[in-house]
Symmetry: C2
Subunit: 434 residues, 2 copies
């Protein structure tokens, strides 16, 4: 956070509704946000001892001893994934758990809060009983135990994974905007630092036959989740992921290993991966015909829509949070694209009439979440906050009516429409269609 050499004028306006230039905060200038002046404190108070806030209980008694594996504070127990099980007790393992974005910051999702989509529960896989098979159109079918895989060369990348059905609460499934926390709307996206083995190395060892153009990837869960992937992606940046944020992949994310296809819809990064079969054509599995296709107004469905589209959402202020009254705020959120890198994020505080460019936190990595920020002076009146992301492939996040018009009623996949938050004079934050 190097301070700029030349101060930016205080409270410089960059767009309507009180949005300020993105470098305003960094220039300093006594922008009083929310601190309380302390009355009656000598500025030369003694260096040590009880000063200012009374010494609390936790300074007077020894704290807790060490533990092998840590957990969040008990005061954060309410920060948990949102769970949706559409079939209820009939099929408790079918559904999603969603990342609570309203309670989070930065760009990494801690492993305990990474979203999960499963079709028949999370398998309890003994890694000593798990093998990976590579077969089909190869010269030498190969079988790998975990121990054998652990000797292979590795790659580490920070990547988002987004469910194809993320943001379904704002899709054509819901004609009226639902009032749920931002994590329930957009929390089927998470990001982690993944480490694994480049798939290209394993395929090369098996020997790819000339007629092999696709793979079938199959999971070892009780749904046998499986998808077809073009061979070109497998030879580009696909990996067999074994570590997630430094530790072994979590059960909900595919323990002991998953396929990982940067930027592609999440279900293609097959979890609990047990085999890869090289084929000359897509296999048309149940998971790519009965779902994960997009119904269009003419009654035809789009299939094999891989890359997730350019997208962003403001996470603060957002539903699930409360305003603290008029004054200075930081507007911040996340942006991402399955087609390259984020090039720009704009923020509007007047429902899209004017836009100010947000600051992006570097390094801005391809297929990763990007945190954006902009200072905002809220005058206490009603406003509509929006963010709009651009990517290096030239795509711009569409507004909701333009997105909606592409699809039939009820179509929920690949929803990347601009999110609008209305803020009322009383501080209530609502999800609105704008």
């Amino acid at each position: 956070m190097p301070l700029p050499e030349k101060p930016i004028p205080d409270l410089e306006r960059d767009a309507g509704g009180g949005l300020m230039h993105r470098r305003t905060f960094l220039a300093g200038g006594a922008l009083a946000v929310g601190a309380s002046a302390v009355a009656g404190l000598p500025s030369q108070a003694s260096a040590q001892g009880a000063i200012g806030p009374d010494q609390p209980l936790w300074m007077k008694t020894p704290g807790a001893p060490f533990r092998g594996y840590g957990l969040p504070s008990r005061f954060e127990e309410g920060v948990a994934r949102h769970i949706l099980q559409p079939y209820g007790e009939l099929s408790p393992g079918a559904g999603v758990s969603m990342t609570p974005l309203q309670a989070m910051h930065g760009t990494i999702t801690p492993n305990g809060l990474h979203f999960n989509r499963s079709h028949n529960g999370v398998p309890d896989i003994d890694p000593d009983g798990h093998k990976l098979l590579i077969h089909g159109l190869v010269d030498r079918p190969l079988m790998f135990t975990m121990d054998q895989l652990m000797r292979y060369p590795t790659v580490t990348r920070t990547l988002f994974i987004e469910c194809s059905g993320n943001s379904f609460f704002n899709s054509n499934l819901f004609p009226e905007a639902m009032q749920v926390p931002v994590g329930m709307i957009h929390g089927l996206v998470s990001a982690a630092e993944w480490t694994g083995i480049p798939l290209a190395i394993l395929l090369d060892e098996a020997g790819i036959k000339g007629e092999a153009k696709w793979i079938l990837a199959e999971g070892a869960d009780a749904a046998g989740m499986s998808r077809s992937v073009p061979i070109a992606k497998c030879l580009d940046d696909a990996m067999i992921a074994i570590y997630q944020n430094g530790e072994r992949v979590r059960p909900e994310q595919g323990y002991p290993m998953r396929l990982l296809l940067p930027g592609y819809e999440g279900n293609m990064s097959v979890k609990w991966l047990r085999r890869i079969k090289l084929t000359d054509a897509p296999t048309h599995t149940k998971d790519e015909t009965s779902k994960y296709t997009e119904l269009q107004p003419d009654g035809k469905s789009r299939q094999f829509t891989y890359a997730m589209d350019v997208k962003s959402t403001i996470t603060r202020p957002a539903t699930g949070l409360a305003m603290q009254g008029p004054g200075l705020y930081e507007v911040t959120g996340l942006a991402w694209s399955g087609n390259g890198s984020i090039s720009k994020v704009e923020v509007s505080a007047d429902g899209g009439q004017s836009w100010a460019e947000a600051a992006l936190e570097g390094p801005v990595l391809p297929h990763a979440l990007v945190r954006f920020r902009l200072p905002w002076q809220w005058d206490g009146g009603p406003v509509v906050l929006q963010s709009r992301a651009h990517d290096t492939a030239g795509n711009i996040q569409p507004n909701r009516s333009d997105w909606s018009r592409q699809y039939a009623a009820g179509q929920l996949y690949h929803c990347n429409a601009i999110q609008s938050w209305s803020i009322a004079a009383d501080g209530e934050i609502k999800n609105v269609y704008s």
Copy 2:
């Protein structure tokens, strides 16, 4: 992991002891590492159904339902921090828990495994009862509640934190090399994506008086841990960290907030931060006089040694792991420096006689952990593996005898000596002084 256009010759040697060029793996070329050829499998096996590995139990029964906050697989229960309590039951909250590097990969430390140093236990702080005071040589003493702080502008950075006492098992405290896992030797370093408020903004709001040259930072734990920090660092890149890898800072790392000084010895990034007092000189607290100073051979101690020195260690192969017999391996580890960025890491497989340059995983960020990798063909004979890091400030990691010579017997802080692992013909990996 884009494949290079021109293949590198297979098994190109880059240094003695079987080290290969860092791009060997990326060039492909059927480097058989550890897979098993599968006999009797038809290459055109049916697309779906039981093929290859028998369908395991976990494909035949529904998996576990969803949970709000996830945990590692029960098969990974052995992956836990190493706990050392030098005073035992007399003071169970004084000591360390160390990151188990031998079981990990990538560069991020998951929050459950981030190292912890505490002097009188981990306080159980109610954030509603916690305040931050800024006072001393300021124009306006200020007090912040958590709610007030949450409105301030934020910054996000991936940073390592290293305890000043890290690697004490290889320091002058132990004349003989100890046989413990690499996580017990070097696991007082961890890395996370931290999000917080630039300290400069809060100090600016309080108004820094001209004579203020230092701060005193004090924690709200039962040790009242406190350190002096030059004001220049506070105005440069210091932050008040509130989020760790996306979620609120863990209790062991300072919940609800900590000071964070990139690159400086860990104890200065005061946890459970309750007050910052601006002063005209260092306060000489108990934590910077009775410890965290380095005794030299002439009987004088160095004080206020802030930045952690350039350092690296191989984490695989390393103590705590076993070799699988002769053949191809990836040598990989971590490098870091408190003085800028890592510029180069070299690896030796002949005890330092010859060195090969390792590949660094990007982005290489200042004050972050960097993962390095190099392919290695082990012929099954005895070898000594070492790594040596260089930083952008021109520093080179010293060998152990050069490091040791700077200090008196028993001096344990700031040990950045080159780590040597001996590998015997039977595959045993040992810590050796070389």
